[in-house]
Amino acid sequence: MTQRYPHFTHWFLSHGRAIRFAFNELMRSPVANFITVCVIGIAIALPLGFFILLENMQTADSTWNTSAPTISLYLKSDITQTQVDSLIQTLRANNNIKNVNYISPEQGLKTFEKNSPFADVVNLFQKNPIPGVLIILPIKQDQNPTSINTLYLALKQLPTVDIAQLDMHWVTRLYDVISVGEKVVRALSVLFCFGVILIIAHTLRSSLASHINEIQVMRLIGATRAYIRRPLLYRGVLYGLLGGIISWVLINVFVMQIQPPISQLAQTYHTIFHLQRITFLQGSLLLIFSALLGLISAWLIITQFLNMPEQMD
């Protein structure tokens, strides 16, 4: 039997020792470290909360799109049935249009007589005053404010069309809100990522100050930089990971808290709306990401310490 462990075993054991060391350091002052981890968790939870809200708004947007934005074309009253048929054919041939629904003046009149309290008024006219209407549903890709507006402007120009109507204010607004929200979340995320890195770096830095001597000794007796770095990197990762778990819990509690009022609100619109929590995949990504932030901050700090000039006494 050789005196030393095989290379891989040594590497493996030293990682195990580094993890144990990192964990012991964390447990040495549990209260202070718990506070640090909470601060990291809250810092991650803020942009994460916005992100989840945004995700929910986007699903809301797509559910409400079943009553998708349509364009109504009110036809001129003097056109013939042949003209109407050829118009419908032209429109159906248009690639941007998914569906064309024709409501003839007679159908329109029937609906009006059935639903309106002013049905009698129609009898005052000698001729059916209700124009033929074409309801245009754009294809899915074109159901956004810009494309739908282009289509609307084109259809408005048709010679047989009297009035074209498009009610899309709510679409525009929702899209605007979401795109502003996306920008805010992006900016906040960058800001808070820096925040998390700084928090972890600061914590490690102040606790490292008491280990300077140890690092010095390790270097003088022949420890490699990687060997010295390892326990600290694990500590950074541990901080990040625990912070990530706390933010995950915080956001799910937050979503559970606002679910009842949101359901009530949705009910008044006769819809059911379930807020989404963080999915398992998102949560896993979150933890990987927060651990990575911890790793980066630990790396920055330990490199700084390792680059300090060596002392012999």
């Binding site: 005196q3 030393r4 075993t9 000794v217 270097r219 003088l220 007796i221 022949g222 930089r225 006494d313």
Partner: protein
């Protein structure tokens, strides 16, 4: 083997070594002396790769230090045992763990570490204190723990920087006898000290530094 050829070392603002040339064959023992600030510590720092020389060549065991890459410095140090005036022990670790540190870093097997640490502690006469904290030991004992840590890896070279600086004459002589014992089993030993009355009692070569040069 230690060899310095025309080595100069400048620090910003002052010159520590102007032209130092000396060599020690394997298994030699010598004292490096000179008044404070003559460059004794600089020589040891250069030999350990803590500093790089401004000019000149340094060979440690046939290895040219100027060719040594930064990432190979840990390897160099693991083959040199270094003892400091202040023994540089980790206070939150036991005596055993302090001495075991170089072996742990090198990936020695658990049983081998135990065997070697106990042998080293036995050699310096402190085997009974292995479970104590270094804080509970006297200065002389701490220095001997430092020596045990330096020799536990069986280095071919031992360097010491004022190892008796904090000790009274009797204890100092004990420490020097300990170094002599390692010299007698073939280790190259270089001890930097300004304690001339002490080393006058021993029959070893003196390398005297004066104004940044080795006095012939």
């Amino acid at each position: 083997m230690i060899e310095f050829q025309n080595v100069a070392k400048n620090y910003p603002g002052h010159t520590a070594l102007i032209n130092a040339t000396f060599s020690m064959a394997s298994g030699d023992m010598a004292f490096l002396t000179g008044h404070s600030g003559a460059g004794k510590s600089t020589i040891l720092k250069l030999a350990m790769g803590i500093e790089k020389p401004t000019h000149g060549k340094i060979h440690i065991n046939q290895q040219d230090l100027s060719q040594l890459k930064k990432r190979h410095i840990p390897q160099l140090r693991s083959r040199i045992g270094m003892i400091y005036q202040n023994p540089q022990l980790l206070e939150n670790q036991t005596v055993f763990n302090n001495v075991a540190l170089p072996l742990l870093i090198q990936g020695y097997r658990h049983q081998e570490i135990k065997r070697r640490v106990q042998a080293a502690l036995d050699k310096v006469g402190l085997l009974s204190k292995e479970k104590l904290s270094p804080n509970s030991l006297s200065c002389g004992e701490q220095q001997r723990i430092g020596i045990a840590r330096a020799v536990v890896n069986k280095p071919s070279i031992l360097l010491a920087d004022e190892p008796t600086g904090n000790l009274d004459p009797d204890l100092s002589m004990d420490i020097l006898r300990l170094f002599e014992a390692f010299h007698l089993v073939g280790v190259t030993v270089l001890i930097a000290t300004h304690d001339l009355p002490l080393i006058a009692q021993m029959p070893y070569r003196m390398i005297i530094l004066q104004n940044g040069e080795v006095k012939k």
